[in-house]
């Protein structure tokens, strides 16, 4: 007797084309071969403040993952959740030291670089007080500092990818940040040869290509 196949509930990702936090999760989904329904939340129109979205995620950030009954918000939390629930293509090595290195790289991106270029910081505070040129300088200052630190850290441990010859969590967090640096913040990548090389390598990988902001379904035409 054939067993009834149970259609797995589809994963849903509430995200925004340009959100680098969302891009990380899109890469992780692709690497793990997970299909998902793309639910666009337009941050430029403040859709994260819609009551429906707030009910789902009271913190009102993107991305948010819905996996059946489970709702997980925050890209770091989402990726660690996916890593445990869908262990195919593991993003964290078993070796504790290498695992710690991956977490450290992810943490440097999420806590020392990305927040300082982040939309709310810019709009809520700086925009009124700094002009546009100064906003760019502010973001570049922190990106350059962060990239300098990352370059130092990975120079000696990078192989084909950031922490060896396999794609791991560090790569998932690095690429969106490097992408932002190049396409949005005019960072001179010649100062960061390892990061530049990694970016070239990521751009050859279909799972990374498919996650790029400019080709997402909610990206404006001509992005």
């Amino acid at each position: 007797m054939a067993l009834e196949s149970i259609e797995p509930q589809k994963l849903k990702l509430y995200n925004y084309w340009r959100s680098y936090c969302s891009q990380r999760v899109r890469i992780a989904f692709n690497l793990k071969g997970l299909d998902y329904e793309y639910k666009a939340v337009d941050l430029s129109k403040d859709e994260q403040f819609d009551p429906e979205y707030e009910k789902l995620n009271p913190v009102k950030y993107v991305p948010t993952l819905v996996d059946g009954e489970v709702v997980v918000a925050d890209s770091f939390a989402i990726i660690l959740y996916l890593e445990e629930k869908y262990p195919q293509h593991p993003l964290l090595p078993k070796d504790l030291k290498k695992k710690a290195l991956n977490i450290q790289i992810a943490s440097i991106v999420t806590s020392t670089i990305q927040p300082r270029q982040n939309l709310p910081v810019e709009i809520d505070f700086i925009e009124g007080r700094f002009d546009l040129d100064k906003k760019l300088l502010w973001a570049q200052h922190y990106l350059n500092k962060g990239f300098t630190a990352l370059e130092k850290l990975i120079k000696d441990c990078a192989g084909k990818y950031a922490t060896g010859d396999e794609i791991q969590m560090a790569d998932v967090f690095l690429e969106p940040q490097i992408h932002a640096g190049i396409t949005r913040f005019e960072i001179d990548m010649s100062k960061f040869p390892t990061l530049a090389r990694l970016h070239e390598a990521y751009m050859k990988i279909p799972e990374f290509q498919a996650a790029v902001p400019e080709i997402q379904q909610d990206a404006p035409r001509g992005s």
Binding site: Y61, V70, F76, L80, A106, T110, S111
Partner: protein, 217 residues
């Protein structure tokens, strides 16, 4: 209990990131040698420290011949290597909530209060603006945290056991309440959690004023 090698923690008494690691070490009953790095004076650029941690960040943990920088990485390393008093529940949803709280603190608040950033703001905009900006940031993120905790906090941040979320929240709350004297009346859950953490010996021992490099009053 895993065999403990010799642990050394490079720490600054007032660093909230180091504070998180101190709480974790205490909760897990791990002895460690405390090595003070005065980040205000620039000790993190001294050759001896740079050799340990070329990133020049504090905290850094040395466990035998393993060196780990970054508090998130250190805490998760300790969680795996020394599983006593686990900080992460088995339940995936509760585990994710702990990660989310930790991530909101480490990427949503702390980077914006870091003294390097604060000095930069003060330089560009003056002292009053700096304070206004601080309060603005804290309020923004505390509002978000309070909403999140409303759905999951019981005795502690996620349920009735101390978890990773508490380890990250406690230093942040300590900082805004004790150093900033922030009005917490809009954040009753956060205020209650702060009071609860103050009662726990592992948290008390990790408090900045109890560290060897804290200035004597």
């Amino acid at each position: 209990m895993a065999d403990q090698g010799k642990l050394t923690l490079y720490s600054y008494w007032l660093s909230t990131c180091a504070h998180r690691v101190r709480i974790t070490l205490n909760l897990k009953g791990l002895d460690y040698e405390y090595k003070a790095v005065d980040i205000v004076k620039g000790d993190q650029s001294e050759p001896d420290f740079v050799r340990i941690n070329p990133m020049k960040f504090v905290p850094a943990l040395v466990d035998g011949d393993t060196v780990i920088g970054d508090s998130f990485a250190i805490v998760l390393y300790l969680e795996e290597k020394y599983p006593q008093t686990p900080l992460l529940p088995q339940d995936l949803k509760k585990k994710a909530l702990n990660f989310q709280i930790a991530s909101i603190v480490s990427s949503g608040i702390q980077p914006l209060q870091n003294f390097v950033v604060v000095n930069y703001i003060e330089q560009k905009l003056g002292s009053q603006e700096k304070d206004a900006w601080h309060i603005d940031q804290f309020n923004r993120v505390f509002t978000a945290l309070e909403k999140l905790l409303n759905g999951c906090a019981r005795k502690y941040a996620v349920g009735d056991e101390i978890g990773l979320g508490d380890v990250f929240l406690a230093p942040q709350l300590y900082y805004v309440i004790k150093k900033f004297h922030m009005d917490m009346s809009n954040y009753p859950i956060l205020a209650r959690l702060h009071a609860a953490y103050e009662e726990i010996p592992a948290f008390q021992a990790a408090a900045p004023e109890n560290q060897p490099d804290a200035p004597s009053i």
